[in-house]
């Protein structure tokens, strides 16, 4: 009897697609590099993966903008095609799958039934609980009910993006839909947060690959993020770090310091308090990352980043850090009072920042020998 695709090991699936062992070692070497694992782990991971059955993955999208999925589909190493076709069995994703309507929902139910206790649940987006769950429904069920049902049989849950991990923008004050991160709804399953707005594609695929190849939840930080990707701050690994150490800072986006590529700390870069891999993995297949394009880090992979005040006020400004240091549930508790105050402080700091920028522009005009 012919094997069903979902019964095949990764190695058998690779052979079926004409991918050689060397091709797969290369794929795993690139993935290990992306995951900052020891480089010789690539061949070892290839060997392990070749003998495991492809795990079922159910990908649920709730209150989100699809930016995370857009990011995921641009993964270079491993590519999304190789991940979907060779390493995992993506049984449900309402954006990528060909089926729609009842057929799509039936595929989800079937995959969850057949792989109960073994499938990986990926969640993208926050879960709105306001209006009786009416802000986000599919097939007549609320996002919260779908999540609770899907979480029951999941081996682990991977929260893709800051919305699923920490609530993200829907969770930001005043949180009109009463949105929650997954950790606010599900408490009895291993949860891996892959935060970022969006996350780096290779961080998403790398986390999935690592879980699939080892069958274990990787080492996580206090926000449940894999330490291999979120172990260092952007600042720790930033190529502009030598300028920070030398005390060389850009004071505006078009001054001499900015043109010389100096540190963007005084222009509001949140690199020193943001844990992510942008400075090493970079974006678009390793092309660059925001700081390389001349803009400071926004801190998008940190909890509450949207409620922390201006992106353009320096970290030494006391407005930054208040919301970010609290856990999502603490932030939610604060939502009625302190978070509102935080927005007020943020608005004030933004005004100060604008005044400062304006003053610098006036100074620049004064200093301009052509008279301005």
């Amino acid at each position: 009897m012919a094997h069903r695709n979902e019964d095949l090991t990764v190695g058998e699936m690779l052979r079926r697609h004409g991918i050689s062992r060397r091709g797969f070692i290369k794929f795993c070497t690139a993935a290990a590099s992306a995951m900052a694992l020891p480089p010789l782990m690539g061949p070892a991971m290839a060997e392990q993966l070749r003998n495991v059955r492809r795990p079922s993955v159910v990908y649920l999208s709730f209150q989100e903008c699809t930016g995370c999925l857009e990011s995921l589909t641009r993964s270079f190493a491993p590519t999304i095609e190789s991940l979907i076709f060779d390493v995992i069995s993506l049984d449900y994703n309402d954006t990528l799958m060909a089926a729609s309507g009842e057929a799509a929902e039936a595929a989800r139910t079937q995959a969850m039934h057949d792989n109960f206790g073994k499938y990986v649940l990926v969640v993208d987006g926050s879960v709105p609980t306001g209006a009786g769950g009416g802000y986000c429904t599919a097939g007549g069920k609320s996002a919260e009910d779908i999540l609770r049902e899907a979480a029951k049989g999941a081996a682990a849950i991977v929260c893709v993006g800051t919305c699923a991990a920490f609530g993200g923008i829907p969770f930001a004050d005043p949180n009109p839909t009463q949105a929650w991160p997954v950790t606010g709804i599900v408490g009895d399953k291993p949860i891996i947060n892959v935060s970022g707005c969006p996350p780096i594609p290779e961080v998403i695929t790398g986390t999935l690959l690592q879980f699939v190849s080892t069958g274990k939840v990787p080492d996580l930080d206090e926000h449940r993020r894999p330490k291999v990707f979120f172990g260092n701050t952007i600042h720790d690994r930033c190529y502009r770090r030598p300028f920070f150490d030398e005390g060389k800072f850009a004071k505006s986006f078009d001054d001499e310091g900015a043109r010389n590529g100096w540190c963007l700390y005084e222009l509001g870069c949140k690199g020193p308090t943001t844990y992510n891999a942008c400075a090493t993995l970079k974006w678009n297949g390793g092309t660059s990352f925001p700081i390389e394009s001349g803009h400071g880090c926004l801190g998008c992979s940190e909890p509450g980043f949207w409620d922390k005040g201006s992106f353009y006020s320096a970290l030494s400004n006391p407005a930054w850090g208040k919301a970010g240091e609290a856990s999502p549930s603490e932030v939610l508790k604060l939502a009625g009072g302190a978070a509102v105050a935080g927005v007020a402080i943020g608005a004030a700091s933004a005004a100060v920042s604008r005044m400062r920028q304006h003053r610098q522009e006036e100074q620049a005009v004064d200093n301009d020998p052509k008279g301005g």
Partner: protein, 144 residues
């Protein structure tokens, strides 16, 4: 002259480009240490160049320091990979690209020969089976 071309472009002086600075020397010291381990206890090792905040100048400097040796292998599997032994025996520069030509991994391997080049036991056995079958089929065809 168009307005765009009037915008002055200044080339970054090398000293201001950030990157590793004196880090290339540190990598070379690390390679020496790994070579000693390879020579004494036959331990393989690798350095992932993409994990280091290297500037293009650092990369060029490292390439110049290690040079090119006698072996250059091209692997055509899911994209082209170039694997060459540097002037220092046992030190291999490995560059993996995907099918679109994007660099997906770049390593310095300290080993007698990179593992990806060697044939695997199960594939050797499968190759032998396939070749035997080919000979048998060929003989049968000639007999007809």
């Amino acid at each position: 002259m168009s307005r765009l071309a009037e915008i002055p472009i200044r080339i970054e002086p090398q000293a201001k480009a950030g990157g590793l600075g004196g880090g290339v020397t540190a990598i070379l010291h690390e390679i020496v240490r790994l070579l000693e381990r390879l020579a004494t206890v036959d331990e393989r090792a690798a350095i992932d160049l993409r994990s280091l905040p290297m500037s293009p100048q650092d990369r060029t400097e490292l390439q110049r320091a290690l040079g090119e040796g006698e072996v250059l292998a091209t692997l055509n599997a899911e994209g082209i990979s170039k694997i060459h032994e540097t002037r220092v025996p046992g030190v291999w520069w490995v560059e993996h690209r995907d099918q679109a030509g994007e660099l997906i991994a770049e390593l310095i391997e300290v080993t007698r020969v990179p593992e990806i080049l060697a044939s695997a036991s199960d594939e050797i056995a499968a190759g032998a089976r396939a070749l035997r079958e080919q000979i048998t089929t060929g003989a049968a065809a000639r007999a007809r």
